[in-house]
């Protein structure tokens, strides 16, 4: 894997440059020797060297997400706009950093029992909320309990369901007792819902004020319009939260967003128009970036419903989809093709050995024949509520599958109520997944037997065994083996076609700088752009 080797060396080189260990000339010669063009190397140099963060400036961010009905209650967070603002105001026990690794945030660290059923989080000391109160275990427990219990209307409720007991051990320690072993539990508490807010003392938390421990203090909050923030002078993290002020604008219309960036009325935007992003790149003073993340599209079949109960039918359908064309037309190349399992290259245990499934009409026909069929007619439900372009994707799929003798009847569903009336209800439909930071979370939610969102009604004995084992397995290598096997199982037997992983494509002013690597778990550097970026 020559390419991989090169990548590592470039990383090293950049590291050296960033720490001022090498000169520009040295950097350039080394980089060009590795096959990088001079121009690219030059850009890389300037970006790397400038990478020393600076404080100051007012960052104006135009977000395609955000709604007038957004609230500061993390239990109701429903879109990237409010998630981003939430990350700016508040912190969590743990954080997925820009490398994609899990690091402690408000916790100093954690320890698990051997079976991974009991977790002890040691809290960072001396962290102050914006109102001056010092964060302690009560705040953490109340914040998490905000999502638990009968009356909770939080979308994070199922995430915390495995917690049997949650208690403080002194002021600085929180103990979780889980129903079953979970090696990735520290990942769970990094979920965007589980922000730590000041307790009001009666077991409730104060979410209305927007007070948290985060890098920015709420100034004005007009949901769906604009919010302004000021830098938290007492922020506990070093090297984060560089802007003096942040103005967060909701700009729903992509043309307006793009124009605003072009005319310098905002400094960064997300959700670029994929159709014209190549033109946007040519604009002076504008930089377009993209990150492959965990966001992916699925086309799940109910594996207990005919004809999808026959694995050959499922394979025939998987083979009759040309993912490359879909990538080109739906995402205009801004993504990677999927391999019929939900684990992204951004995940830790992605199985890179598993052969990529290709558009293969012969194989499709073969499996169709094996299933005892010469022709097949199936309904595929789609709406753009699933993801932008879902209907187009379904239409493309229909045209491609027709060549294998499969007649896909595209059923256009209404956008409204798609998630309640179509998803999980119709035997075959288009779905979008934001992705989960860990294999365990992804598999548990979407493929485990009995999971609420087991969209393909998948029930594979071996898979379910492995899932439980791997969850509690603390040995890295063994875990990797298990997860890789599970990906193979899903790829071969699963009822889910996973055609694409979408890139996050966003653009910013030239003046904006960021670390060489950006997180792929959410849009805009893990939705932490305002915390992580700075003006160069």
């Amino acid at each position: 894997m020559g390419g991989n080797g090169n990548m590592k060396r470039i990383d090293q080189l950049q590291q050296l440059a960033q720490n001022s260990k090498i000169s520009r000339r040295h950097f350039m010669s080394q980089a060009t020797a590795m096959g990088i063009t001079a121009a690219a190397a030059s850009t890389m140099w300037s970006r790397t060297v400038k990478a020393a963060p600076k404080r100051g400036g007012k960052m104006r961010f135009g977000s395609g997400h955000g709604s007038t009905t957004d609230t500061l209650d993390p239990a109701t967070y429903a879109n990237g706009g409010i998630i981003h603002q939430g990350y700016g105001m508040r912190n969590h026990l743990s954080e997925v950093d820009n490398d994609g690794t899990l690091v402690p945030e408000l916790a100093e660290g954690w320890e698990a029992s051997d079976d991974a059923t009991e977790w002890v989080f040691k809290l960072r000391k001396g962290v102050e909320f914006h109102n001056g109160k010092t964060m302690d275990a009560t705040d953490v427990i109340d914040s998490l309990n905000h999502h638990r219990g009968k009356e909770s209307k939080s979308a994070a409720k199922p995430l915390l369901a495995p917690i049997n007991e949650l208690k403080a051990d002194g002021k600085d320690k929180v103990v979780f007792k889980l129903a079953g072993g979970s090696a990735d539990f520290p990942y769970t508490v990094s979920d965007y819902h589980l922000a730590i807010m000041p307790s009001m003392g009666d077991g409730k938390v104060d979410w209305r004020s927007g007070i948290g421990t985060g890098a920015y203090i709420k100034d004005k909050f007009e949901p769906g319009v604009r919010s302004t923030f000021k830098r938290n002078p007492n922020y506990f993290k070093s090297g984060r939260g560089h802007f003096d002020e942040v103005e967060f604008l909701t700009i729903g219309d992509v043309v307006a967003r793009t124009n605003a960036l072009s005319t310098g009325e905002i400094d960064a935007m997300n959700r670029c128009d994929l159709k014209t992003v190549h033109l946007l790149k040519r604009r002076k003073g504008v930089r377009v970036e993209e990150v492959t993340g965990t966001l992916h599209y699925t086309i799940p079949m109910h594996t207990d419903v005919a004809p999808f109960d026959n694995n050959d039918v499922r394979l025939a359908l998987k083979y009759s989809l040309d993912r490359e064309v879909l990538l080109k037309t739906i995402l205009r190349g801004h993504g990677v093709i999927g391999n019929d399992h939900p684990i992204s290259t951004a995940n830790r245990y992605h199985n890179s050995e598993l052969p990529q499934r290709k558009y293969d009409l012969d194989k499709a026909k073969f499996h169709l024949k094996k299933a005892g069929l010469t022709a097949l007619t199936v309904d595929l439900s789609a709406a753009d509520a699933a993801f932008v372009g879902a209907v187009d994707a379904a239409v493309l799929y229909k045209e491609q599958a027709a060549k294998a003798g499969i007649n896909i009847n595209v059923v256009r569903e209404p956008n409204d109520g798609y998630w309640s009336n179509v998803w999980l209800k119709k035997p075959w439909c288009m779905v979008y997944w934001g992705g989960r930071p860990t294999e365990d979370m992804m598999f548990s939610q979407s493929l485990a037997q009995g999971a609420d969102w087991n969209e393909s009604h998948f029930s594979n004995k071996r898979f379910n065994e492995l899932l439980v084992q791997a969850r509690a397995e603390l040995d890295e290598a063994k875990r990797r083996g298990m997860y890789e096997e599970m990906q193979v199982i899903v790829n071969r037997d699963g009822g889910t076609v996973v055609p694409l992983f979408a890139n996050y494509v966003f653009a910013m002013s030239d003046k904006i700088q960021h670390d060489a690597k950006m997180a792929g778990n959410w849009d805009m550097d893990g939705d932490k752009a305002i915390e992580r970026w700075w003006f160069g």
């Binding site: 992509v254 043309v255 793009t258 124009n259 072009s262 128009d273 159709k275 014209t276 033109l279 946007l280 080109k328 037309t329 205009r332 753009d384 209907v391 187009d392 239409v395 493309l396 045209e399 256009r412 209404p414 956008n415 409204d416």
Partner: protein
Amino acid sequence: MTMPLTGSTFSGHASPWFSRVAVAAVHFFLLILFLQNVTVDFWSAIPGFVFIHAYSAIVLVYWSRLDQTPAGDTVIVTLTLEFVLIAILFWDSFSAWPWSTLFGLALVQICAFAAVRYWSELRQAPYSAWFGLIVILIYIMVAATAPIIAPFGETAIVGAEYDEWSDKHLLGTDNLGRDMFTRLIYGGRNTVGIAFMTTVLAFVLGGLAGLLAAAMRGWMDQVLGRTVDTLMAIPSFIFALLILTIVGTSVPSLIVVIAVLDATKVFRLARAVSMNVVVLEFVEAASLRGEGLWWIIRSEILPNILPPLVAEFGLRFCFVFLFLSGLSFLGLGIQPPTADWGSMVRDNATLITYGDITPLLPAAAIALLTIGVNFVVDWFLHKASGLKD
């Protein structure tokens, strides 16, 4: 609105032989086109044959009364209504060849009738009106014969995405690799067709209600008037948004919803102009004679309020057109993959920022048609009001 009651407004003299030949020619044109394009077996072509001939029979029945009479107006309006109703009821089968084309050709035929009927007026029309009429005619022809003149299928993916303009793809391809030129033609057919049907339905509903209110007055006028006031008090965009979300954005529901909302405005006009007619003595004479409501509406009032209504039809058509494209902008209009100009502008709007004029084309198409219609309406109003300044 001044009332054109002089009667001389439409008293042209067209020679009957000319109009007969014109209609016969259109009929044969229709038949030949149909036969040429029937690719399916004989039996499934039968409905088409029946359709054409039943249609011709209707034409012949109305025949003797057609030339240069106000009855001719009625024939044109009736035929239009028939087709619109059929099209709304059977939209699904109508959007498929050959029904849609038959429908389109029927429209062409209606235009031919109108042209023959009003030939003497047309001769005196100013250039702007001629320009408008020609534009409208071209649009109708294009819409009617879309499957024949379009090089590719409406939703067929025939090339790479965003191809340049070339011999194969005259205007390049769109984001899915569909031919832009083809989409533009079909978009015109869908957008114009739906806007036209919506407007007609709005006029049937609003016009009828307005006539009823004016003719019956009393409680009927009050009830209808209050209902319309209430409906108008709700912003139509929001109302359309609500209703379309409830009933779903299928083409028939789109047509009905916008038509009902637009009918309120038609109602007001129809009622106002009818009121001017109702107070005239010939209406009093008819009601003294003991004529029924229907006769009074149809024979006494309607022929006299047609000119302002027709002019309003043109304007409302434009508004519906723009309304539809506005809804498409918010994603509630005609749904993909059906081509429509509003969403074509919307889909490609970002390109304008980068100096690509492709999205200008559907917008220009919308503008050209509305301008054309407005020119004709201007001329018509000018004629109907007898203004000679």
